[in-house]
Structures are given as C-alpha cells and as structure tokens.
C-alpha cells in the first residue's frame, strides 16, 4: 500500500527531471531555477513554521547568510568561476544553521505574533549589519567570480542542484513529519503548554526544528549567489523574501508536505511569467493581486487542503471509501 500511496511522486519527479531536457529555452529554465529555489526554501521553512505554528518572518537571514558565505568564501579562497563553487553550497547551509542557533535562542522565547515581529526585527538587525559592516562590502555588495560558461546549458547545473535541494528538503520534511520529533512540533502547535506538561522539552524541540530549517534555505541562498553572480545586502536580505515564502507555504497549505512545493511553484512562476507578459504597465500587479485574491477566498485553507477536502466530500458521496487522511497531508492548518 505504501508503495502505491507515494507512487504519484515518481511521475511528478520525472517531469521535473525531464523539464530542462525538453525545455531548451533558457527563459523558462531560469524561471525553473528560481521556482525550485523558492520551493526548497518554502518547504524547509514549512518544516519548522508550518509544523510548529511559529511563523518565522526572518528566514531571509538564513538565505542571506548562505549567499554571503558563498560570496566571501569563493572570493577569499579564490575559487575559480567554474563548477567548483558548487561544493561550497552545503557550507552556506551549515553557516546558516550556525547563525540560526543564537537567532533561535532569542526569538523562540516568545510566541505567536510577538515571535513573528521579533523575527522581523532580528532580520532587520542582520540586514542593517550587512549594510554597515565593511567585510560584507557594504552597500556595494559582493561580486562573485565570473562563470565563463556560455548560455548553452548554463542553467542546467543550477537547475539540478536546486532540484537536489528541493528533494532533500522534502525528504527531510517528510522524515520529520513522520518522526517522534515531528509529532512534538505538532503538539507544540496545538497546545504548547500542554505539550510541555506532557514532558516535551519544548524549547529544545523548537530550537532544533528552527536550526534544521535553516540548512536548505542557506543552501538555496548560496546557490542563488552563484547563479546571479552579484549580491547586494538589500536583495539577499530581502523582507519580500520573508513574506514570499510564507505566502507560498500558506497559499499551498500551511503544515502540509505538498502545499509549500505547490505554492512556491505556482506563485513564483506566475509572478515571473505575469511580469514578463504584462509588464508594459503596472497591470501585472493588478492581475497578480486579483488572481491571488480569488484563489485565497475560494481556497482559504490553502490549495492542497482545498483539493483534499473537495475529494473527501466527493468520495464520501460516491463511495464509502473514507479512510483516514494521509498524515502528511492532514493536520492542515491551525496555529
């Protein structure tokens, strides 16, 4: 049964693997790379914030840390602008995790919207530090070694590395969801005091989840730095990034496994595509906003949960196959 249950992942994965082989237009593989980067970030973000209910709006700290780690290391170690930089991607993730520990120690002492705002505040502290300190290059940012590859297949390695990060983040998120640790996170979301009373070491669990979620986001940041070739503090420590990945996860379905993936894929692609198509005026903002509004109002629990509920109703009506929900999809949202 479990083989069948997860069998649908395979064709989806196949589509992603085959996509750059079929799609030779770099415009769309570029959108693909950005979409994958956001999918990785949203999934990793959701692994902590979705499961625990602690909405972290400072995840750009991890992203920017990864990007700066990549830029500083490849400049100081004189890594040539070739594939060698990719080996530093996990290092970006690790440094992001290291940064996450003090971040979490401060922020995780408070709950709910106070937590949300404290993460925003810490985000700004880090962003403004990157602007004010000299080793980060200040407002001029940092330039990465020029990659001499020509456009033919330039995107391909980035695409597959990003896909690798997404798969990693999804598997990790899945493993966490299935583990005792994941259940403890969910217990914290449902009732933290009660969880604590039942013997869950809530602070340790929260800090572990928080730190774990930094890894993939940091890797995405590092990869982004190589891909774009030049980083500026306001673009890698970007408040819109914080909002975007949270929106993507919520849009798809907060706390679900598939939701953030779907949310990031749809929203990032749609935004890039609409900007490209309707950019002669600000009309694209209106269209994007209106579409967003319609979807949110019709699927208030996120797309994934909406589809699932639709199916449940349908299946209850048509046959009596009403097995309990797949835990990876259920639980939906409630903070």
């Amino acid at each position: 049964m479990s083989r069948l249950k997860y069998g649908w992942w395979l064709p989806v994965l196949a589509v992603f693997v085959v996509f750059p082989l079929v799609e030779k237009n770099p415009t769309y593989t570029t959108i693909g790379v950005f979409a994958l980067i956001f999918m990785g970030c949203a999934t990793s973000w959701n692994m902590f914030s979705g499961y625990s209910g602690y909405i972290n709006l400072g995840a750009a700290v991890f992203y920017g840390t990864g990007a700066y780690t990549m830029a500083l290391l490849s400049n100081h170690l004189h890594v040539p602008g070739s594939g060698d930089q990719f080996w530093l991607v996990p290092v970006g993730g690790l440094v992001a995790m290291i940064v996450a520990v003090p971040f979490g120690l401060i922020a995780l002492r408070v709950r709910r919207h106070t937590f949300v705002v404290i993460t925003i505040a810490i985000f700004f502290v880090v962003q403004l530090s990157a602007i004010n300190f000299s080793f980060t290059g200040g407002t001029s940012g940092l330039s990465l070694p020029l990659i001499p590859w020509l456009e033919t297949n330039f995107n391909t390695p980035f695409y597959y590395i990003a896909l690798g990060i997404v798969i990693f983040a999804t598997l990790l998120s899945f493993a966490v969801r299935r583990s005792r640790f994941g259940l403890q996170l969910l217990a914290i979301r449902d009732d933290e005091d009660r969880a604590s009373g039942l013997g869950v070491k809530v602070f340790a669990v929260k800090l572990t989840g928080f730190t774990l979620s930094a890894f993939a986001i940091g890797m995405c940041g590092a990869l982004y730095a190589v891909f774009i070739g030049q980083i500026y503090p306001q673009f890698v420590f970007d408040p819109l990034f914080d909002i975007s990945i949270a929106l993507m996860a919520i849009f798809g379905g907060l706390g679900t496994l598939v939701g953030p993936l779907l949310g990031a894929l749809v929203l990032e692609s749609m935004q890039q595509y609409l900007t490209l198509q309707f950019s002669s005026s600000s009309l694209y903002l209106v269209i994007f906003g209106a579409l967003f509004l319609v979807i949110v109002l019709f699927m208030p629990q996120g797309v994934v949960v909406y589809v699932r509920d639709l199916w449940t109703r349908h299946s209850l009506a048509s046959d009596d196959d009403s097995t309990p929900m797949d835990p990876a999809l259920s639980g939906s949202t409630s903070a």
Partner: protein, 416 residues
C-alpha cells in the same frame, strides 16, 4: 485507497500542466549571426524598472529609448532595417531582470540589448547577457563594481560615477579667497552611487583650505530625514554637498533646511535635481533656485545632437528644455552608441560590436563624445555642474566652458 490515488493523479496532472505552461514557446538559439533578412525589422530588447523602487528613473529611460528609436527610424532605421523596441519591466527586482534578458534573447530573439536602470540591476543583467555573447550598452550603471567585474561586454555611455563632483570642487577651490567659503558639510546616503563621489571632491576642497565641519553617512532606508538635516543645518556650513540618489531625499533636506531657516551659500546634490520637471514638481518650482547637481548632460546643452533630441522630446511630451530628465539623454546616448557601432561593423553581430566599441573609437552622442576604455567605462565626458536658476536649468561649470552661465552664488534664499 482508490480515491486517494485518484486525487494524487489529479495533483500530478496539475503539476504537469503547470510545468508545461512554460513549454509553450519552446525554441532556442539566439540569432547572433549578425544578419537580418531584408525588410525585417531589427529588434532591440531592454528590461527597465517600470514599477518598484527604481520606477521613476525606469520610465524616464523608457522615454529616452523610445525617442531614439523613433528618430532613428525617421532616418531610415539601422542599415535600412526599422527598429522595433521590446521593453519589459523588471519591477526593480534582480531576479526578474535575469529572467527578462534571457527571455528577450531566447524567446523574442532580439538582435541587440540595451541596459536596465541602476547599477544594482546592471551587473546581474550584464552577466546574464554576457553568456550569450551579447553586448550591453547602458547608461545607468556607472558604479565602480561594474567595471571591476571582469565583464568584457558592458559599455556605460554615461559619466563614471566617482568624478561627478570634480568640477564643483575645482570651482570652489578656484574662488578668490574673499569669496571662497570657509566651511563645508558633506552628508551622503550609503549607496554605491553616492559614496564614492564624496572623498574625491573632499580632497580637492580640503586642499583649498575649506574646513569640513560635518561629514556623515546616513542610511538610505531612513524614515525621517529631519534630524539629520537639522543637524547639518546646526553645523551651519557655508556649503552643503548632499550625496543623494533620488528626488525624495533632496526634497526632504531642502524642506528641512528652509524650515530651519538655514540657507547655505551653495547647495549641491549628486542626483535628484537632474530629474527635470519631476524635481520641480516635488520640491515646488520656486524652491529650486540655486540648487546644483553634477552630471554630464542637461536639457540646455548646445551640443547639436542634444538640441535636436530635446526639441523632439518637447514635441512629443511637452514641457521645456529644463524639464527634460537627464535619464532621457543617457538612454538616448545608448541608442546612438549602438547606431555608430552597427554602421561601422556593417551588421548586427554582437561580437563585432564588442570589438568595435573596445577599439578606442570616439562616438558623438547627445552626452558629447563617448569613448570606452578596456573596462567599458566612458572616459571622455567632461563632468559639468548644473544649476536651477528660476525654473531654468543651466550649465554653470566648468566656468571656462563657452556654454556656461554665470553661477548663482551665493545661493538666493529659499523661495526667493
């Protein structure tokens, strides 16, 4: 379980649909062969920030590009091909700018590319375009980092940023001792465009014996400029040099100065006052009197190319010569550089254009002579200082220039 499988199948179908959304226009290979079939237009692509942080400048650049294309088409286009511009917006996002240029080259098959607005976006864009072997001639990416990046395909037609304040500094130094100011204040936002300009000017001015009484950097993202402006006013320097990137900063400082009843003998801002009517509208037309700005171009330029462009601009958009944003000319010059390169190389091959522009040729443009060094910097333009005198925007520096108007010094009281 049957039901759930069906659901999952539905989901995967959705994913496939989303993925195939992008597979619609599958085609690749940019046409860098350099030849265009007879009767076909030449397609030029650019990404500009029509919304977001840089949108005010982005729209002015758009006007400049369009104006150039219309003029050149009236003259028969490029090598007999009519010019078609494809301008798309990047919403001031570095992510979008990369997608946009790739789309312009791969999907729209543009023959040539023009630069985006702001150094912040130019560098990522130039790196992306470089991979296709395309040249990127631009008019708004003069930060030193661009020329240190090792890119061979970037050409900035505008003035290199760091030297902007030099004529102003030299003018201060050249004043007779009796008129020369005794004190000066520097206040600049932390931005790659403004910060490099201050030390260059300060060195010259200091050598002339003018005392620096205030020198601070302020955060670009500050909410409220009044305390900084009040502090500058309290320092009571005779000259203020403001490192600004946009109109709101300059207008806030001017407002605060006036409210503090502080009127320096000279006031220069690195950017903002060069935005023509946009500037006048924001600060109020009577307040601009005496405000200076460094640049390579202004609407009243006597340069024949420029005079023509300005008259066409006014015909199309109305207003006066003083009201033309310098961004328009910078964008227009980009077109002229390309015109010269295409004519000289006899085709649209980007490789040949890059070689040609690196060959040390001098090209005439609305900005004056343009000549690129090995890094793609234009080392020809003379920096000028311009001043608002009433609602007229005039050249005042270098004073030796035949086109220079007498400088309004000391600056009249605000609003006078």
């Amino acid at each position: 379980m049957r039901g759930k499988r069906k659901l999952f199948r539905a989901l995967s179908v959705t994913s496939v649909l989303v993925a195939s959304l992008f597979t619609v226009a599958t085609s690749s290979g940019a046409s860098s062969s350099g030849s265009i079939a007879k009767g076909q237009p030449v397609l030029i692509g650019a990404s500009l920030s029509l919304t977001g942080e840089f949108s005010a400048d982005g729209t002015a650049f758009q006007a400049g590009y369009n104006l150039w294309a219309a003029d050149q088409n009236a003259k028969g286009g490029l090598l007999g091909h009519q010019i078609k511009l494809k301008i798309i917006s990047d919403a001031s996002s570095p992510t979008q700018v990369i997608t946009n240029y790739q789309s312009l080259i791969s999907t729209d098959h543009v023959n040539l590319t023009f630069g985006p607005f702001s150094s912040l976006l130019t560098l990522p864009a130039a790196k992306a375009v470089n991979r296709y072997g395309y040249a990127m001639v631009e008019g708004a990416g003069g930060a030193p980092s661009i020329f240190q990046s090792g890119l061979k395909n970037v050409f900035d037609a505008a003035l290199p940023v760091a030297d902007g304040l030099v004529p102003f500094a030299k003018w201060i130094a050249s004043l007779p001792a009796s008129q020369r100011p005794k004190t000066i204040a520097y206040v600049t936002s932390n931005d790659p465009f403004t910060e490099p300009q201050i030390p260059v000017a300060a060195k010259i001015i200091k050598a002339a014996g003018v005392k620096t009484v205030y020198n601070k950097v302020f955060a670009a993202e500050v909410t409220d400029y009044t305390p900084i402006a009040d502090e500058v006013a309290a320092a009571n320097a005779q000259v203020v040099v403001l490192g600004s990137v946009d109109v709101p900063t300059v207008s806030s400082f001017m407002q605060a100065f006036e409210q503090a009843h502080y009127n320096p003998k000279a006031f220069i801002a690195t950017a903002g006052p060069d935005q023509g009517t946009t500037f006048l509208k924001a600060v109020g037309s009577t307040y601009a009197n005496g405000v200076m700005v460094p640049n390579a171009w202004f609407g009243g330029s006597k340069n024949a190319e420029s005079v023509k462009m300005v008259s066409e601009y006014i015909k199309k958009y109305g207003g006066t010569a003083s009201g033309v944003n310098a961004d328009v000319a910078e964008a227009y010059a980009v077109g002229q550089v390309i015109t010269a390169a295409v004519k000289a190389t006899g085709g649209f091959s980007n490789a040949k254009i890059i070689t040609y522009l690196h060959s040390g040729v001098t090209i005439q443009s609305v900005l004056g002579a343009v000549k690129f060094n090995s890094l793609g910097e234009n080392n020809q333009p003379t920096a000028f200082t311009f001043q608002w005198q009433g609602t007229k925007f005039v050249e005042v520096n270098p004073t030796t220039d035949p086109g220079a108007t007498k400088i309004l010094y000391p600056k009249p009281a605000w609003k006078a």
